[in-house]
């Protein structure tokens, strides 16, 4: 990712408009199915209309420059809205591409990165929510490392989370 060859005018507003058109976002019929299946309510408790798929698109259409907005980093890219949309809008791809665009342009405030190599992992909000596993055990540490770095440190990681094997104990 990061190919800019096809964009002649690297103007943020134009690039966002291009993303909107590419993913069919302007075909929205305002049916509301996306907002209905979005799991944000379960995850974040407070459901703000402005954070719903329709809300995000509409605001971007009107203020393409107003993108230093935390609401753009709430989406989990779970694909439910894209699955149910009757107009064929690809909101999942749009969000992923939009975030990539934001990162390239320096809007990093709401993103969470790998503590070893600095690669983008997930939105900060998602990271905060997932700090604890269902049993209350803090696994935040593992979420701070990107998959590649995790692989490179695999034995270290395993030792921390896996119980020691019976035979090894005897040694």
């Amino acid at each position: 990712m990061g190919l800019k060859a096809y964009i002649h005018v690297s103007n943020l507003k134009t690039e966002i408009e291009w993303l909107i058109q590419k993913n069919n976002l302007n075909l929205c019929l305002e049916c509301g199915k996306c907002s209905a299946v979005c799991p944000m309510l379960n995850f974040y408790g407070a459901y703000d209309y402005g954070r719903s798929p329709r809300g995000v698109v509409e605001r971007l259409t009107f203020d393409p420059e107003n993108i230093d907005d935390e609401a753009l980093w709430y989406c989990l890219t779970c694909n439910e809205c894209t699955f149910y949309c009757p107009s064929g809008i690809n909101f999942q791809d749009f969000m992923i591409e939009l975030r990539s665009l934001l990162l390239r342009n320096g809007y990093k405030k709401y993103a969470h990165f790998c503590s070893v190599c600095g690669a983008y992992l997930m939105p900060k909000k998602e990271f905060e929510y997932m700090q604890k596993d269902p049993n209350g055990k803090i696994i935040g540490e593992l979420l701070s490392i990107c998959p590649r770095c995790k692989k490179n440190n695999y034995s270290e990681t395993l030792r921390r989370i896996a119980p020691v094997h019976k035979t090894l104990k005897k040694l």
Partner: protein, 570 residues
């Protein structure tokens, strides 16, 4: 001459026979006054039953027939015809319902049901003894049709009738044919010019040898009934009378001009969709920032209906504007989008894909138009979706308004006794089962006179009205049931209640000369229009109207027969 009644009681399989003791009822019937013969049948309506009736009429010289079986709605016509075949006047037949009104509602009480059936038969015999022979009325139908209004519906209806060989008198108020469609530039969804649609059609109508076109003519009066209408036209201050057998009302509607709304009338660049089509035709040069506001004057408290096709008209114009100026910023402020069916849904999708923005506004928070002098410059609207106010710069504001009923609808309604609904458009006989026709026979409605409809539906309704109008004209005659009301002029007090209450407009005033030489007006029933509903009979305070086949004497005989000797113990 003595009355000789024959009674035929039906088993109707087990429908009646399983609950009522039919044999006992037959025995009872034989004991009634005037009854010469009684028998039971398994199915009186079968060929066996019918031929038995005919044979017994001849054998026993019967002059009244009573059949006790199901509801008259099923077989009355059949039994009446059967009597006619045996040489008996068909109105000397009486139908008694011992199924829907007896066996089917008292299924668990066999003895009481039998007694009730006997009561009902007694009532039937009492009435039958008083029946008198009646003759059906037959009137000729003039093979011509009056089409009021030369818009797309009227033109379609005229062509459909004229091509079948009927004569058509087409009356148009303006000096040109075509109606509302003349002002429309392009039609959706094909985006072709309305001239392509209208031009050839108008030419065919003007040239057709079966169509007489009356331009700049107004309808002053209509008299008569199906088969024999007389219409008075006024052309160039001269009156003309034309006679036709049927009438089609295709007077269309008008576009609402939203005075004082959204700066209409104050700003030169605020106009309705039709204004826009008339002014700009196809030259959209310089129109780069356009806002359309939908549902103006529609779906509000004073006018609750939806215009049905104005959303699509707006979309069509928006698409044409966008095609002419691809960089243009076009916003449609809407409250809902009505784009029904596959064709219009696809059209809506195309409009969205072209980059036209549809913004929802709330009826409680209407958009504001701001400008200076007579030029509108900005539109401010509260965008429901993002929850804040938005300001849009504009070159042009187009207001999408619905069609409203024509000004002449009330006048025509009184002239021809055709009903007008709450919203001012004409109302058909039954909204679900009887479109196109009115309660009064021989008059039909097509197109926007009934409700705002788009072009293909107007054409279809024109054809439908032509098909319905062709029926009486093809048959050449209209036969009316003989069971209609009659006024006794000696008893009529000229109060006019019956005239007002008749839903079919079948009663009117008539002059009557008294022996003294004075003339007074009394009510007169037109047998061709009367449907025998009986409303006039109940409304008459002087007892001057009687309904043939259901007159006071006959009904009271039935009542007396049941009060005096009822044996049922309900």
């Amino acid at each position: 001459m003595s009355i000789r009644v024959g009674v035929f009681i039906c088993h109707c399989g087990t429908n009646i026979g399983g609950i009522v003791n039919v044999q006992e009822a037959v025995e009872y019937a034989r004991s009634l006054p005037n009854v010469i013969f009684a028998e039971s049948n398994l199915y009186t309506c079968s060929e066996n039953g019918l031929s038995s009736i005919r044979n017994k009429i001849k054998e026993y010289d019967l002059n009244r027939v009573v059949v006790a079986s199901c509801t008259p709605r099923t077989h009355e016509t059949l039994f009446r015809k059967n009597c006619e075949l045996a040489g008996l006047n068909k109105y000397l037949f009486e139908f008694v319902n011992i199924r829907e009104q007896c066996s089917w509602v008292h299924m668990k009480r066999h003895d009481d049901a039998t007694l009730k059936a006997e009561d009902l038969v007694r009532m039937g015999v009492a009435k039958a003894s008083l029946l008198t022979p009646q003759e059906d009325l037959s009137t000729d139908v003039i093979r011509a049709c009056l089409v009021i209004g030369g818009g797309i519906s009227g033109l379609s209806a005229s062509m459909a009738l004229a091509n079948q060989g009927y004569h058509v008198e087409l009356v148009e108020k303006k000096d040109k044919l075509g109606g509302l469609l003349r002002d429309v530039n392009m039609v959706f969804p094909t985006n072709e010019s309305s001239e392509n649609l209208l031009g050839p059609l108008i030419e065919s109508v003007l040239e057709h040898k079966n169509i007489d076109v009356h331009l700049e003519s107004e309808l002053i009066d209509v008299k008569g009934f199906i088969g024999n209408f007389t219409a008075t036209l006024r052309t160039d201050s001269k009156n003309e009378e034309i006679k036709t057998g049927t009438i089609i009302v295709s007077t269309g509607a008008a576009e609402l001009k939203p005075e004082k709304m959204f700066g209409y009338g104050r700003f030169d660049n605020v106009m309705t969709q039709l204004d826009f089509e008339k002014k700009y035709k196809s030259d959209y040069h310089g129109l780069n920032r356009v806002v359309m506001i939908n549902c103006v004057g529609a779906r509000i408290e004073e006018r609750t209906y939806c215009g049905r096709f104005c959303c699509i008209t707006g979309m069509k114009n928006a698409v044409l504007l966008k095609q002419a100026n691809p960089q243009a910023d076009i916003n449609i402020l809407q409250r809902d989008i009505m784009a029904f069916g596959m064709v219009f849904e696809d059209y809506y999708r195309n409009a969205l894909g072209a980059g036209i923005r549809f913004m929802r506004y709330n009826v409680d928070n209407l958009p504001e138009i701001m400008g200076s002098g007579n030029n509108a410059e900005k539109v401010r609207v509260y965008n429901e979706l993002i929850g804040r106010e938005v300001e849009i710069d504009v070159d042009l504001v187009i207001l999408t308004t619905p069609l409203v009923p024509g000004k002449d609808n009330e006048k025509l309604s009184k002239m021809m006794r055709i009903p007008v609904g709450n919203d001012g458009f004409f109302l058909e006989a039954h909204q679900k089962l009887r479109p196109i026709e009115f309660p009064s026979d021989g008059i039909f409605v097509a197109g926007c006179a009934r409700y705002p409809t788009e072009i293909s539906e107007c054409i279809a309704q024109g054809y439908a009205a032509a098909a319905k109008a062709a029926i009486p004209m093809a048959q050449g005659r209209v036969i009316t049931d003989a069971l209609i009301s009659e006024v006794d002029p000696l008893r009529c007090s000229s109060c006019g209640r019956c005239i007002n209450i008749c839903p079919f407009g079948a009663i009117d005033w008539a002059d009557r000369k008294a022996p003294s030489g004075e003339t007074r007006k009394v009510a007169l029933v037109n047998p061709a229009e009367c449907k025998g509903c009986g409303l006039c009979v109940s409304s008459c305070l002087s007892g001057a109207i009687q309904l043939n086949g259901f007159n006071d004497e006959e009904i009271l005989a039935m009542v007396n027969s049941v009060i005096e000797s009822s044996e049922a113990t309900f």
